[in-house]
Amino acid sequence: MTNLSCTLYAVPGASPGPPFLARRALWWLAFALMLGMLVRPAAAAESTAFEQALGNLATTNFKQKERAVGELLDARHANTRTVLNALLEGNLYYRKDDKRVFIGAAQDTSLRLQDPLTMSDAGIADASDCTKITTNNQLRKALKSALASFDLADPDADVRLAAVNELLRSLDADRVSILRARQSSENNDAVRTAIQTGLAIADLDSADADVRLAAVDQLEGSLNPEAFNRLSASVARADDGSYAEPDENVRNAARAALNAINNWRSFYSTLETLFFGLSLGSVLVLAAIGLAITFGVMGVINMAHGELMMLGAYTTYVIQLLMPQHIGASVLVAIPVAFAVAGGVGVLIERGVMRFLYGRPLETLLATFGVSLVLQQIVRDIFSANNRPVETPAWMAGSLQVNEAFSITYNRLYVVLFMLIVFAILQLVLKKTSLGLKVRAVAQNRAMAKSMGVRTEWVDALTFGLGSGIAGVAGVALSQLTNVGPNLGQSYIIDSFMVVVFGGVGNLWGTLIGGMSLGVVNQALEPYAGAVLAKILVLIALILFIQRRPRGLFPQKGRAAES
């Protein structure tokens, strides 16, 4: 057996690597399927081969590890799958003194070992006596591919779909035959479609023109990138004028299919751009909306606004430190806490500094700039100048795969939704509560509001606190998108002011629509102009826009606003 595989490896051109390993896994699976049962060999020969293969894993050489994985598959041992899984998850160790391989579970500084041969407990070892068997990308890919073939018969359709997609990543004749065998017994639509697409791609290589034609028909409308690549290749004209696809009819069908695919692709890419724009716009709006209150309603040029967002982001970090077991919930908990922290600091700033400066808006700029420097340095002293790692909860990671050409990342999607919720709540507070009424009254006519018994000082503090608190909430969202460090605020302050001014000072709807349109325009330009030029163009457009409409998108109207 060992000899045989040695000769097998010696075959020139059989490059070691994922397809090679997967193929053997597939053969094995095919064999199992043919027998209609999972093989349960207990034979001594297989155990020996398995044991030997295991021993070969005890190395730091990745090439050798790949070979050992191949041997493990060849051994067709009942525990092969468990071992491969353990290797993929980094739970496979070898003892330094005798190079024996174990499945290990880390417990503080020690390891609970399990013998992979018998799956029996092998006692506890000191962690420093064992070496973890590491993997690299190529090895992990091979392992995943090998494990996928085990999953093809999994009762869970999602697992099967993932397995099929894993196999589609590198198709060859063996996989095709496996997929063909699986096709008839597959009862889930999504999985079957995936299999059919894969088979159709394979059929493009058929010698029979009718089969190829049928395959092209099958692929029409498919957004699988591989399908697109193969179809494009088939109609591409080589240097000598010949085509990869010899049959004229098939070529025409392929062109038609490509046309259809291209149409869909450009449709989805427009959707994608729109979503990118909306999500960028949401970030801008979130960053700006607190400012729309402190700056727009109160007239304070709050240069510390960015630092209040930074406080919100750091709050998220601290909350995660406090509840490391519940990362998923930590972000939700952080929202009210960040509101309270940033809002509280905002009230402090208002009571300590701002209240002496009403009616002197430009001086608020100076003072809040000073405050922002101090806040930055405080954070630097507490948390160090380094960025802090804020974890992304599982429910915010990944993307919503609409189809193979269009997916929406969850974190961006949630940010859009989150922004809308924050905006709605803010509108409610300002329009429906007595605080909101007072805020608007003070904004419009301070003296009059005061004479009517509104405690303007109290309203000022709460308004500033509200704006600051919302900045903190925005910081929670930003912590999921970007660095959490002392400079976080600086990178958003300019953009925030632009959004508020573009929308029209004192108008929350203006901020919403302004931020969204700036985001969409920026993203629409980016594919043509690149990220930098797109931003420059947006800035120039903003300058020209303001000179067309000197009071922003939604100016405050009436005689009061004119003077």
Partner: protein
């Protein structure tokens, strides 16, 4: 009884001006002598480091005056003056780059080093002419001036004012910063222009050149100050201040407010450009971070700390804040942001007229500056 010609009032009048001019003259004379005449190690020796530092402060002071003219006197809060400063600096930097000649690391006679490594084959059109000093000097004035005219024409014509104006000036300098950061623009990208060798044939690092640059900065500051003072004392200056206090009222008396604002803005931009041009050879580098929006805000803060609406206050603020920065970053590198931040808050809260306002309070029963004009 009758308002005398502003030219006569330039040197007399305000005590602040007198103090400023006296100080400038003293420093301008003493510093070069202390640097050149006394040997190193002598107690009276002034190191080239200190002198260059003082020269740098002077360019900052000139920049502060420029901002004070538009903000303190005309009420235009420009948060984009660093852009004009940087443009002037770039014009000078381009001249200095061209003077390197074959002494660059690649030894290319025509192309600056960064163009060689970007594989550029020929000099872009906008670099033509900068090998001549007079042309570069002209550009120091023309480029910021024209940009200010174009920008101001757009903004003032449609009566953009207040925070809207401030924010679009930020957008202007921000856009310029992003543009200059692009290596494809042909201004050296992030590294900017550096490693200068000669200015007007003299080694830029030589003591004599440093003295000459220092003296030029002092002269520019003095002349810039007097020019601004002339403007503020003239009838036009009074119109400008009237615009600051009641813009639409000024319009109803028959003044073309836009025109006044535009030319004051442009003149101020030119001053900023000159300051930038003098700054660059003394610090030895110009790079796009000079365009940072935050820099423009800082200039405004110098003026506010010093005392808005008095030219000598702007000078005092620029020197004070920058000296504080130099001093704090060396003595308390870990705490200096606290010191600076607190300084800003304290000045705003307790010294609404800046530090010169404080000085005025102590100067007993000094006749108000304005009464002198009568």
């Amino acid at each position: 009884m009758q308002t005398s010609h502003p030219a006569i009032q330039l040197l007399i009048g305000e005590r602040g001006t007198q103090v400023f001019l006296a100080l400038l003259l003293t420093v301008g004379v003493a510093a070069p002598i202390m640097h050149l005449a006394f040997p190193e190690g002598s107690a009276l020796h002034l190191s080239s480091y200190t002198m260059t530092l003082m020269g740098k402060y002077m360019t900052y002071a000139l920049l502060a005056i420029a901002v004070d003219l538009v903000w303190g006197y005309c009420g235009i809060l420009s948060l984009g003056h660093a852009a004009f400063f940087a443009l002037g600096g770039y014009a000078m930097g381009m001249y200095l780059m061209r003077q390197i000649g074959t002494r660059g690391v690649y030894g290319d006679p025509l192309l600056p080093d960064f163009m060689v490594f970007l594989n550029w084959k020929e000099l872009p059109w906008f670099w033509q002419g900068f090998d001549m000093f007079w042309f570069a000097a002209l550009m120091v004035i023309v480029v910021p001036g024209l940009l200010a005219l174009a920008f101001g024409w757009l903004a003032f014509r449609s009566r953009v004012s207040g925070v809207y104006l401030s924010i679009i000036t930020q957008a202007l300098t921000y856009a310029l910063m992003l543009a200059f950061f692009r290596n494809d623009m042909g201004f050296g990208g992030n590294n900017g222009l550096t490693d200068f060798k000669d200015i007007l044939g003299a080694n830029i690092n030589a003591s004599e050149t440093r003295v000459a640059l220092f003296l030029t900065s002092a002269a520019a500051l003095g002349l810039g100050y007097l020019a601004c003072r002339y403007i503020t004392l003239s009838r036009a200056g009074r119109v400008v201040q009237a615009i600051r206090d009641a813009e639409s009222r000024t319009r109803f008396i028959g003044y073309r407010v836009e025109s006044y604002k535009l030319w004051v803005f442009a003149f101020s931009a030119v001053l900023a450009g000159i300051a930038g041009a003098l700054y660059v050879p003394q610090v030895g580098i110009i790079n796009p971070s000079e365009f940072q929006p935050i820099n423009s805000i800082e200039i405004v803060i110098w003026v506010a700390v010093g005392g808005r609406g008095t030219l000598y206050g702007a000078v005092a603020g620029a020197v004070l804040v920058n000296y504080a920065k130099t001093y704090f970053t060396a003595t308390i590198p870990e705490l200096w942001l606290y010191a600076l931040g607190t300084l800003f808050v304290i000045v705003t809260l307790f010294l609404p007229k800046g530090v010169v306002g404080l000085a005025d309070k102590f100067a007993l029963r000094r006749p108000a500056a304005r009464t002198v004009t009568a």
